[in-house]
Symmetry: C2
Subunit: 316 residues, 2 copies
């Protein structure tokens, strides 16, 4: 792992476009050591320039294919793009990650595109926090667009995909997919809804169901548009790209800074909570903690008194 001096060197090299240094920086911030803290503290003042877009939806909904086409549209608009493919369920090198890279291979040779897979490991503060740090790094290094793609729609993935400027939710046509979307809590986080595989039957019903559910939210200031596309061929990907642009234009009229400031404060809260959770775990595992655990099991000491005593043991 890079030391404090190394990370400055790596940043310097990554700023000049060196991809190996960028990869090492990201590995550093993904981890849970002091390296992560050092790198973040160095890049933090430079963040906030990129537009960050999250993309979520069931596995197989066609997110990676859509991302592939969005990269093309971003490149046509002369923007550089960093893509983070996040899979909480996958080990370091999993099938999904390989699949992502295959689907995005149109851009492998393009210097203006950087694609990176992230999987669950021992991260400081969990996957969402680790992803947020990686986004900070690519943002600070000057990528214009950051696309964060999740594999599924679990809580961790919803957290990841909604911790951005624009959240895109991808669904497929067919009975009940709109309802599944609602159940997974995606209605509340989506800024743009995409009905992919629009060459299949049931598109109109899915669009209608989504519209009906989105209409229930009468207090919203931004009404999420619903865009149909066929990610495999790229048909409609331009419309998705435009819808993201419209959401961006809307936020830039005023709400953007407030939303970003709120997300930064949340990151701070998460960092503090994580610190204390770790502290509690350490205390429990300490010899004083284990002794009190036994006393509690033996009914010699009640759980709350034991917790109070243990907290005082170390924190004075």
């Amino acid at each position: 792992m890079p030391t404090q001096i190394d990370s400055a060197v790596l940043l310097e090299a990554a700023r000049r476009g060196d991809r190996r240094s960028l990869a090492r920086l990201i590995t550093g911030v993904e981890g849970s050591g002091d390296t992560a803290r050092t790198i973040v503290s160095e890049v933090y003042p430079d963040i906030g320039r990129a537009w960050t877009t999250g993309m979520t939806g069931s596995p197989g909904a066609g997110k990676s294919s859509l991302v592939n086409h969005l990269i093309t549209h971003a490149r046509v608009a002369e923007k550089t793009v960093a893509v983070l493919a996040v899979d909480p369920s996958s080990p370091f090198t999993g099938g999904a990650i390989l699949g992502d890279r295959v689907r995005m291979q149109d851009h492998i040779e393009d210097d203006g595109v950087y694609i990176r897979s992230m999987a669950s490991r021992g991260q400081l503060g969990g996957l969402a926090a680790a992803t947020a740090r990686v986004v900070m790094v690519v943002d600070a290094l000057g990528f214009d667009e950051v696309l964060v793609e999740t594999v599924g729609v679990g809580q961790a993935e919803v957290d990841v995909a909604s911790n951005v400027d624009t959240t895109v939710v991808v669904v497929n046509p067919g009975w009940g997919d709109a309802v599944q979307t609602a159940k997974a809590g995606l209605l509340e986080i989506g800024d743009v809804f995409v009905v992919n595989k629009a060459d299949r039957p049931g598109v109109e019903e899915t669009v209608r169901d989504l519209n009906a559910m989105l209409d229930l939210n009468t207090v919203q200031v931004w009404r999420p548009p619903i865009v149909s596309c066929i990610a495999l061929t790229g048909d409609g990907a331009q419309d998705v790209w435009s819808a993201i642009g419209e959401h961006r234009a809307f936020l830039e009229q005023g709400a953007k800074e407030q939303a970003r400031r709120m997300r930064r404060r949340s990151e701070f809260r998460r960092a503090l909570t994580h610190r204390y959770k770790e502290r509690a775990n350490q205390l429990i595992a300490s010899s004083a903690g284990r002794a009190r655990g036994e006393a509690v099991a033996d009914l010699e000491l009640d759980p709350w008194t034991a917790a109070d005593e243990l907290a005082w043991e170390v924190i004075r």
Copy 2:
């Protein structure tokens, strides 16, 4: 709220059978103040005598009616019974709570039965922790049987219903109910499965589906029995009561103490974690915390450095 001296007086009166004092004690441990800690520390040495049974399953599955009949069987066996009806979604006095009391009214006049509803309020460490404390109180006061009934099958309710000696899962016949049970994570926590409303079609299929799913778990030492009943009439309630007794006999051959010790240690861990979570929330809300939140939002300080600084600010 009772003070420290009061709680000793209340305990004394409750031990003599005074129900008003018992009710006040329970209100005390449900809460989040020092009263809860004081009462727990007084009753804790006396716990571990009652047999605790949790009952969970979808709303409307017939749990309260079944509990009503289980009380009868317990009373026939000359055992005293405390019933806690837990509803995380309900305010202080909700419809479900009133309904529970109506369904259990056979026992309202019986001095050997105590029925108490618990709803979500500002509890120390959440609903599961509050329920655990109430169970401790009625256990220590000498009730032979403690029945904890939840209204639904959310995560909070699963936590509550599995924090006992024997967990009973109630399902209804019909397509997909066994699958819903699996999805809700109830297969793993059930020691006894009850197919209620056994006069309806689909009982055999539901029993077969449950059996097939339970058979997948080949490492279990206790194979949960599946019992059919009609809680409305009481048909089969005797079999449910017997199945609970068999599970108890099984645990008393050896695993009981170990399981109880493990649950007590979990309670201790939960108490400590809760303490630290509260500490983090207090720090965030303090003036130092709010100032650092602003600095993070302004990109002057990164979230992890801010968390480190804030933790040092108060804890030295």
